[in-house]
Amino acid sequence: MDKNRKILVAILVFLLMSMVLSLVQINTSMQRKTSASSANISISASAGVGVVRVSGVISSGTEGHFASMSMHEAVIARIDQLAADDKIKAVVLRVDSPGGTVAATQEIFQKLMELRQKKPLVVSMGDMAASGGYYISSAANHIVANQGTMTGSIGVIIAAPNFKGLFEKLGIKMNVIKSGKYKDILSSSRELSDEEKALLQDLIDNCYGQFIKDISLGRNMPIDDFKQYADGRVFTGSRGVEMKLVDSVGTFQDAVKKAKELAKLPSDAPLYDESSSALDVLFGGMGSFFGKNPLGSVTENNGLIEYRYVP
C-alpha cells in the first residue's frame, strides 16, 4: 500500500470513528432524557420500590472523559429523585463497593439517613460491601447480604508509597519549600517522622470515631456491641448476621421482597431500577485496561484518607 493510500485509509477510519462517537453521544443524550421522562411517567404509574446502585469505589472525583458527574453525585441525585417521587414507597440500595473517600461516603450516608426518615430503606449487598460500602449500608432499616458477601472492614486507612530508597538509587532529590513543618506530610521522598505518624494516627482515629458513631446511629446499637469486630477485619454475610452487623442472608430479590413488606406493598408492585447509559456500556469495561494503576494498591490510595477495603 503506498503512502497516499495509507493516509486516506487512516482519514477514513478517523471519519468512521467520529460517526460512531457522535451516534453514541446523541444516543446517550437521549437516554438521559428518556430516563428523566420515564421517572416522570413513574409518578403516574403504580406504587413500587426504587433501586439505587452503588458500584465500585465511592469517590467525589469524576473518572474518565465521558463522566458528567462524580459517582457520589450521581448516587445522591438518584436518592433525591426517589425521595421526591411519591409513588416510590420503599428503596433498595444495592451495594457492591469496597468503600472510598471519607467525605463522599459520609454525604451518601447522610442522604440515606434522610431518605430513611421518609421511606423504608433496605440494603442488598453484592460481592462486596466493605468499609465505606458497609458505612453507607448501615443507614438502612434492614441489611440483606449474600452468604459469601465480603463485608465489614470497619476502619480507616491512609497509605502513600515511600520512594526514598528508589530516589537515592536514581540520584533524585526533591526541592521542598514549605510554610509549616507538616505541609509535606506523607511525602513520598522521605521517611515519616514520629510526630507526623502521631498526627496522622490522630486524624485516622478521628475518622474512625465518626465511622463507628454513624454505624451505631444507623444500626441503632451501642458501639460496644460491635467494636470488637470494628478492627478492619472482613467477614462474610453469614458471619455478619452472627455479629448482628447484617440482618439477614439473602439475594437481591429477597431485599426487594423485604422492602415491599416494610412498605406494605403487594408482591407484584413494580421495581423502578436505574438504567445505565450507552457510554457506560461502551466505555465502562475499558477502565480496567486504561484506568488501572500498574503499581496497584501500593500507590492507589496516594495519601487519601479512605473508608476503603484495601487487600
Partner: protein
Amino acid sequence: MSFKENLKSLVWADYLSALIMDPRLFAVKISESKRNILPSSLIVSFLALFSVFLSLSLLLPQSEFFYYKISYGLVLGYIILSAALFLFALSADFVFQYLGYPGRSGRIFSALNYSLFPFVFILPCVIIFKSIEFAPLAVLALAVFGIASLIYSVYFLVSVLSEMNSASVLTALAAVFFPLIALSIAVVLCGISFIGIFYGFVVNL
C-alpha cells in the same frame, strides 16, 4: 471487477486521493474507468449525507425523532439527493452536448457524488467544537466548514468537468451553474404552485 474486489484493491482510495490533491488527475482516472457510474461514488455521497445529518443532530435539540431521522429520514434524504444529483448530471450533460462536447451523464454523476466528499469532514469539526461545550463555535464551524466544502466542491466539479470534456473552465462553469439555476427556478416554481394550490384549496373550503 466486482464490488468486493474493487474495495480490496483500494482503487477508490486513489480516487479520493486525487479528489483532494489534484482534481484534474481525478478526471483522468474517471475517464479511464470502464464503468460510467462508480459504485464507490454512491458510498461517498451517502457518507457525506450521513455526516451532515449527524452534525445537525448534534447541534439541534435532540429528541426521539432522531431515530426516525437517522433511519427513514436518511434513506429518504439519500433518495432525494441521488435524484437531484442525477437530474443535475443530466442537465450538465445536456449543456455539454448542446455546446458540442461529449458530456457523459454517468461519469458526471460519479464526479458529482465524489464532489460531496469534503462535507464528510464537517462532522469531526463539529464534534471537536461540541466537545469543548461551546455551541456557538460549533454552529460557526458548521457554517464555515459547510461554505468551504461547497466552494471546494464547485471548484472540484468545474475542474473535473473541464478536464473530462477538454472544455474551458468557463464552459464547465456554465455546465455547473445552468443546472443549479434551472433546478432552483424549478423548485421556486413548484413552491409557488404548491402555495397557490394550497391557498385555492383553503379558500374553497
